[in-house]
């Protein structure tokens, strides 16, 4: 993941707000800082849960500001935010789910097939293993994704009721 700041005067990068970081990203790419892009980053930055495009769109439409961002624009902007290193994308049950990646520590997930909830956890062992394995295969690891699928306490109780299919 190439993150670096093009102009580093001190310890710049880390202190930037997501919006500022995105603005910088756009600027260095000759892209424009439009109203919709601003509204979208702000909205995303103010919500810290995992979300998908549809949820974001729904959230935006609750505000007069965000109502003006269309679905295509939301999709386009999400892709840009991933490029900018603000968001991380993963695919669950056939749709893309996003989470914050800027200023957030590396982590992995437990995924409950009952309630479709993601639980975060950290383990530096995982990263260590990835590096080791990559090395053994002359592979240049860029990132990894570990998802432990199962049932959370809550869903384990109502297990027999809910038909939890294992789509991956």
């Amino acid at each position: 993941m190439a993150v670096g700041s093009d102009f580093s005067l001190g310890s710049v990068d880390v202190a930037l707000t997501p919006a500022a970081r995105f603005a910088e990203f756009l600027r260095t790419r000759g892209k424009r800082i439009t109203r919709q892009r601003r509204v979208i980053v702000d909205h995303v930055a103010s919500h810290h849960e995992h979300f998908d495009a549809e949820q974001l769109l729904a959230g935006l439409r609750k505000t007069p500001e965000g109502s003006r961002a269309s679905r295509p624009t939301v999709y386009r902007t999400l892709a840009e935010m991933v490029d900018a290193g603000l968001l991380k994308k993963m695919v669950l049950d056939g749709r893309a789910v996003y989470e914050h990646d800027y200023g957030y520590p590396q982590h992995d997930h437990l995924y409950c097939t009952g309630c479709r909830t993601l639980i975060e956890f950290s383990s530096d062992e995982v990263a260590r293993i990835c590096d080791a394995v990559a090395g053994q295969h002359q592979f240049r690891a860029q990132s990894h994704r570990l998802i432990v699928t199962g049932l959370c306490t809550h869903c384990r109780s109502s297990k027999s009721r809910s038909r939890h299919q294992d789509r991956v």
Copy 2:
């Protein structure tokens, strides 16, 4: 190519051929052993690489036998084979990829975004970590999936050429 005998006199389950295992699965579910299901399992069992529905369909259509299995039937049968524990499904670049799961040891993958190749590796440490983490969160782990994304040696050379987008 279906190999073995359907009647094992010694150690049962593990010794079953994929086709036999599938037949048993179908039987116990009141499902029927049709020509297309037979052709599909046999074809799948005789190819040991990762594949997606389209590749399987293409492969089937090269044989007179398999030509009679339609796309919907292939999809339906793949789902059944996953249920039967013969195949494991994962999603990469927006389409489902299958791999053998019957009689194959647990493993994880390195995924090259350049050539979209999966490289298998095993690490019991990973399973250990998953269990540990699940325990800490009162989570009942059913399975896990670890994918290390990056570039293989080959693609690392032609890195600048190939536009390797990071869809996940």
